[in-house]
Amino acid sequence: MSQKNAIRIVLFGLGFLTLGFQVLLMRGFLVTCYGNEMVIGILLAIWMLLTGFGSWVGRFSRFTLLHHPALMLLLVIPGIWPAPALFLLNFLKAVMIPAGSMAGLEDVFIWGAIVQAPFCLCTGFLFTVLSTLPGTGNPSASYAWESGGSIVACLAVNFIFLGWFDLFTGALLLSVLWFLTVSVSMSLRRGWIQPGVVLAFAAVYLLTIFRAGLAEQSENLLFPDQKVVSDRVTPYGRISVTRSGDQFNFYENGLLLFSSGNTINSEEAVHPAMVQRPDPLKVLMISGGFSGALTEVMKYHPGQVDYLELNPELIRVVAQFTSQIKSENIRTIRADARRFLIHSPEQYDVVIVNLPSPATLQINRYFTAEFFEEAYRHMTPNGVIALFLPTASDYISSRAADLNSVICRTLKHRFRNVLIIPLEKNVVLASDSALTLDIPGKIRSLGIQTSWVNPDYLDISQLRERSGYLEKNLQPTGKLNRDFDPVAVHYQLAWWLGYFSFKPLVAIALYTLLFLILAFSQNRLTTGMFTGGFTLASIEIILILAYQALFGYLFSMIGAIIVIFMAGLTIGSWLGPFLATRWIERRSVIRSKVDPEAEVRENSLNGFNPALRQLYFRIQIVLAVFSMVIPVFLLFIRNIAGFTIGSHLLTGLLCLFPAFLIGLEYHLSVTIPQDRINRAVSGSYSADLFGSAMGAFTTGVILIPLAGVNASCVLLGILNLAGAWILYNGRRK
């Protein structure tokens, strides 16, 4: 086999390994850092920055052979890192912050850098080196092979690994596949001596990891003084069950969902809403029912309770460790509630949205005007909806007031009456009919047996006083929380940042400095890759958010969206040489008819192929226009949401098209400069990653929560226009 094919196999494996490990590591980080979008945005940004830097350093390599001993050593490093990295993450948490406490932003930065650096620097470096080894062929084909590996990893990890294995087993499996890939590609070139060494090393490594019991030790570090009785990684999140004393504790992604025997939470989730309509025919409960809330609902003898839970694994483990109420009237439905409501004909008297406050874009979907509209359509005329926000009964800070205000305002936009009740959490009720604050009085008159929500603990005069205090501090006017303008996420993030000594100006300064350094270190060609990477990462986030808002969360579809993006990149870079050649031919024919000397003049001025530069320029313009019209497409999809095949097809095209353009752009950016190939590859690939890093963070954490989807799309358009302008006017580096 030629070196070219051997390298392509390794590149495919590299794509598989990097994406696979990224998915597993992010799951690990979610648990360790109780991740929200800001944490994940930071971590992904660090990942791509480090990989980009590794790729950039690759320009200085002098490797010419795949089987060079030093290169072999470098190929081994990414294979040994995944499992120890997962352990290291929990170890760092155990030694650096107090037991059970939340990781601060600085912790996330430090851990993210330490845990990801060896892997990302190495894989970034390897990509440049492998793409530019003599005989590799067209570097855009290398990009396509690497992306191809990522596509397969995305499918394999999300649909096989996460369902069948825990994180450690998944990480070890990735290592095994990587070592096999490296060995096979080497054996095809140089016999079995070097591959044998690699495989022997892999065997010793795996044995060491198993003997060290890293998985068990890691769990113990994560849940100090608790016995882990179940730990499963599911596509929807990692579910851990621990036992402390006589109590079982259920965690999802490291966040405590509930502990057995905790009546306060379950009673507060149910009774404030149920006493408003004490003879309900139908009740809808979204999540959180197994903590005991369903038992509380059944005290009102409803005709039917539809209980929606997204994660089937959660249903299974809760049933395994706790005794659950059994009733023919309870219908447990494994589905995303927004997706369910689109197709359901049911009408409910009480809707209980038993979810945490809107810390992520995904949870925020249940706090938006659009969801309230959908819920309203499924409520009887006297129906009541309940949801829960962070408490502020002793004191309401401006941050908490903003969050509570925007949700109450959004509810008031649809419902005539909104009531906020300060208990352990703030219970927010909304209905078109009258609502009463006298929850304890109603409980007593109905004869419902409770241990917390009753007149013994809740005094009506104090409830009135504290509810009035809250009402007084809420802002009646201002923005509404919408699917595409999720302002509540911004308020929730600001509230969360209040936990730490967060210095906004320092953060803004650091972010701006990093952005400027990365943006201005690009030349006119890689600027396009930078803005392109930024745009693609941003569009990916926007479309995933839009899909969830329009159609509901469906794990397989989110995976499909990511795969389509990668497929677009692969196709674009794969077809790049063909399309570029066709473009040159077509343009040459036209130009030679008009002015045969023009091309010679431009080449002598710029050193760039003017036809390709023009194509590059036009791609930038198309990306700019495309970014700006995304809101129009989304509006169109929303209006044809009933026609699911058409809307899904259009969503798929929206994902494929920009990714295709970026793939094509990558080909152009490594082809246009008549420069050393490794400089071109490292410059373009690192620019793509730097742009993606900034895009993922900026759009997910800053732009969408602050400005909404529409404004974000316009800003993306402007960014690409700037990229085009620099390409046209900038100085060649």
């Binding site: 109780y34 107090p98 037991a99 059970g100 406490s101 939340m102 100090p224 003084d225 608790q226 621990t242 402390s244 004393g245 006589d246 109590q247 504790n249 490291g254 966040l255 405590l256 502990s259 025997g261 009546t263 306060i264 502020a392 002793d394 004191y395 309401i396 800070s397 401006s398 941050r399 908490a400 903003d402 352990e424 241990s451 917390w452 009753n454 007149p455 013994d456 603990y457 005094d459 104090q462 006083e465 504290r466 205090y469 501090n473 308020y491 600001a494 940042l497 209040g498 936990y499 906004p504 100006l505 803004i508 400027l516 201005f520 602050l706 046209y728 006017n729 900038g730 100085r731 060649r732």
Partner: protein, 386 residues
């Protein structure tokens, strides 16, 4: 095609932009705080004594700066610096409190919520707090006020005289200095307590007990009851979980008892931090050896809050075990808190073991006290009952 920009020109532009950015930083900060980070504005900043300031009586001027002598943090401050509790600043070599007459939290609560079970049961307490605390507990339920300065919170104006008037008007028998940490707003507490005493209103200190001897003795002259949160019985845990130390708190308990202030103790049982039976036994032994057998002890259930959201609720079995340890050690009145409906909220006669006071939440459903004694066996039940 336009002329390319040279590197020199680019850095020139960058410098100019940096200067412009620096010039506009102040206005940007105002914008960022108001519209992006939602910081409230209002009170004068640290170091600017104003309407809600008063010179503190407890400080010394040292060559290193002005040293606050209210609590064992003993902060040494210079102008522009804030004390650890965020409520004291220095101006012209004098120490000022900036937490005076500007509470951020004012409510009426049942006294059992403090918790005080043996002091004027079933009465209401006018409860106030300003921002600030001399601890930084990782599990603070009121972190939005305790870990803030009064310059950062939305406050109401309520000077000591007005506090007393409001307490009388709302039918409260007592004023509770609570929620955040009254030692951080010591001067406000002191002045209010003195006025309240003159009007026959009782004063309740709900505190971490982290205070120096002199200010404590001065304040205790006006205190009627206190609930001191004995957070653990380990210096190391005090340092890592709360940012304090154990000995000053123990000293506070002794002094309050010596001065005749009715005292109850709360111990929050935090899983993996303060739930070790050995440590609880050691704490109970110390209490017994120092004459606290009749001091009610509340073991409180931990809820995952603030930064300690990675821990579960305290299992009921652990709380019951802690209660058993305390009872076996000889402490007579041991309660479990934050667990609704538990029989461990009731007061049992230490001799005949019958229920003297049956509590349902913050209400008393059965009272078998007669002349401050068990009506079944006439054993005196320690407390201030009327």
């Amino acid at each position: 095609m336009s002329n390319p920009i040279s590197k020199r020109q680019f850095f020139g532009y960058l410098m100019a932009a940096a200067c412009a950015a620096a010039g506009g930083l102040h206005s940007f900060k105002t914008y960022a705080n108001k519209f992006i980070f939602m910081e409230p504005s209002g009170n004068p900043g640290p170091g600017i004594p104003g309407r809600y300031s008063k010179e503190s009586p407890y400080y010394v001027v040292t060559p290193k700066g002005v040293q606050c002598k209210i609590c064992p943090n003993n902060c040494i401050l210079r102008e522009g610096l804030e004390s650890i509790c965020r409520t004291h600043v220095v101006k012209d070599q004098k120490l000022y409190t900036i937490a005076y007459g500007n509470p951020c939290s004012v409510h009426v609560d049942p006294i059992e919520k403090k918790p005080l079970f043996h002091y004027l049961p079933a009465t209401l307490s006018f409860s106030i707090a300003t921002a600030g605390c001399n601890f930084a507990c990782l599990n603070c339920q009121n972190w939005e006020i305790s870990q803030r300065s009064p310059t950062e919170t939305e406050n109401t104006e309520l000077f000591p005289r007005q506090v007393v008037e409001q307490a009388v008007k709302s039918g409260c028998k007592s004023i509770a200095y609570t929620y955040s940490e009254p030692i951080a707003f010591y001067e406000y507490t002191f002045d209010t307590a003195r006025l309240a005493r003159a009007r026959g209103i009782k004063n309740l200190l709900i505190s971490n007990g982290y205070i120096n001897e002199k200010p404590l003795r001065d304040l205790a002259l006006y205190l009627d009851a206190a609930n001191i949160n004995l957070k653990s019985f380990s210096d190391d845990i005090y340092a890592r979980l709360n940012g304090g130390s154990l000995q000053p708190v123990l000293q506070t308990l002794k002094i309050l008892k010596e001065l005749g202030v009715w005292l109850e103790i709360t111990n929050l049982v935090v899983p993996s931090w303060t739930d070790k039976p050995d440590m609880i036994a050691e704490m109970c032994a110390w209490l017994m050896n120092n004459g606290f057998a009749d001091t009610p002890l509340h073991f409180s259930r931990f809820h995952p809050l603030y930064k300690l959201t990675g821990l579960p609720y305290t299992p009921l079995s652990i709380l019951e075990k802690a209660r058993d340890i305390a009872l076996k050690a000889g402490i007579r009145f041991v309660y479990i808190g934050n667990v609704p409906g538990t029989p461990a909220e009731n007061t049992y006669c230490p001799k005949c073991k019958k229920t003297v006071i049956e509590r349902r939440g913050f209400n008393i459903s059965q009272n078998n006290l007669k002349n401050a004694a068990c009506k079944f066996c006439n054993t005196p039940i320690a407390g201030v009952w009327q």
